[in-house]
């Protein structure tokens, strides 16, 4: 019983030295400048493809400049 207790305490102490695993929150902000001077930024959380960048630009133009 005492041995079991020492093992548990030892494990508990070791756990305290283990590095804390942080939740990874990826952030990826990209900004697009439109022809009418509005800058449109978003945190997309990932790298965008060039096709996606072009479509975002078209949307920003439609919203702010058309």
């Amino acid at each position: 019983m005492k041995r079991l207790m020492f093992i548990c305490v030892g494990l508990f102490m070791m756990a305290g030295f283990l590095p804390a695993k942080e939740l990874a929150v990826e952030s990826h902000v990209e900004c697009f400048g439109t022809t009418c001077g509005v800058t449109f930024c978003g945190d997309y959380g990932r790298d965008l493809t060039n096709a996606e960048r072009l479509w975002i630009y078209d949307t920003a133009e439609a919203i702010f400049c058309d």
């Binding site: 952030s27 022809t35 001077g37 509005v38 800058t39 449109f40 930024c41 978003g42 945190d43 997309y44 959380g45 493809t49 060039n50 096709a51 996606e52 960048r53 072009l54 479509w55 975002i56 630009y57 949307t59 920003a60 439609a62 919203i63 702010f64 058309d66």
Partner: protein, 277 residues
């Protein structure tokens, strides 16, 4: 070099070389001018587009020629590793068109509609129900064709059209069909949309009808039911920043004017749907 790039692209029909599936070949191409409003209070039509109705043996495809050209420039520019700025510079010289495409599958009696919301491409299918046309006595000449007037309430709007039995194709612009002749002109009762015949061509050389259901990044279009599509369409246009957060997973958005002022509140796009919400 850029000018030659565009010329070559337009010579090959300007068709997008995205992931695509040939589903038929064009027998007839009818072009329409689309004039439309973006808010109900506009007195005139501020926007125009050039629409193609490609009719094959099994399917028809209705799309914006302008959007097709700009989309093709983008696709070819990406394939040729042009920069974003270079591609945008090329696209800027061409008129914008509506991104929606409508396919009519004759044997399956189905419509397939696709649309693009930022970089989310969607697709929905529905039964191609025939409008309940009421054919009147009013007759007029359109480009040398004798046309008769017909009216129907269809998908939430009352459509007034002119069709000609001299072209025995029971089709028309958008989802309008089912008359004993081709529809050459169509407008809704509230004068928000107007389709007018621009040209009619019998296509002699092989020209494929392409069903595009994957985007440039080779991702399949997201298939949704029509109700979901309409909710997406409404949110996209009425509250674009909310749409981007909900459907594209974007965490935060900001828009800043040239003087540094942050644009607050809802970001919306002036837009009237063909099928009212």
């Amino acid at each position: 070099m850029k000018k030659n790039f565009i010329i070559i692209l337009l010579m090959i029909g300007g068709s997008s070389l995205q992931s695509q599936e040939v589903i038929d070949s064009v027998k007839f191409r009818i072009s329409y001018t689309l004039s439309y409003k973006t808010t109900p209070l506009q007195s005139d039509y501020p926007r125009t587009d050039l629409m193609y109705l490609d009719i094959g043996k099994e399917v028809s495809k209705f799309y914006s020629r302008y959007d097709q050209i700009r989309d093709s420039i983008q696709t070819e520019g990406l394939k040729n590793n042009m920069s974003i700025n270079e591609i945008n510079s090329l696209k800027k010289t061409y008129t914008k068109g509506v991104p929606q495409i409508f396919y009519h599958l004759f044997q399956d009696n189905k419509f397939i509609s696709t649309d693009r919301f930022v970089f989310l491409h969607t697709l929905y299918k529905e039964t191609a129900k025939i409008p309940e046309w009421s054919i009147g006595n009013e007759v007029k000449d359109i480009s040398g064709y004798t046309c008769r007037k017909a009216i129907a309430k269809y998908f939430g709007r009352e459509w007034h059209v002119y069709f000609t039995s001299q072209i025995p194709l029971n089709l028309g612009p958008w989802k309008l069909w089912g008359l004993p002749g081709l529809i050459l002109e169509a407008s809704d009762k509230d004068n928000l949309f107007k389709y007018e015949l621009h040209g009619f061509e019998r296509i002699q050389n092989y020209s494929p009808i392409i069903y595009t259901h994957k985007n440039y990044d080779n991702k399949e279009y997201t298939i949704v039911d029509k109700n979901t599509f309409r909710k997406m369409e409404r949110l996209y246009n009425e509250d674009n920043s909310e749409f981007i957060k909900v459907f594209l997973g974007v965490k935060s958005i900001s828009a800043t004017k040239p003087d540094g002022t942050v644009i607050e509140g809802k970001i919306s796009i002036p837009y009237i749907p063909l099928e009212p919400w």
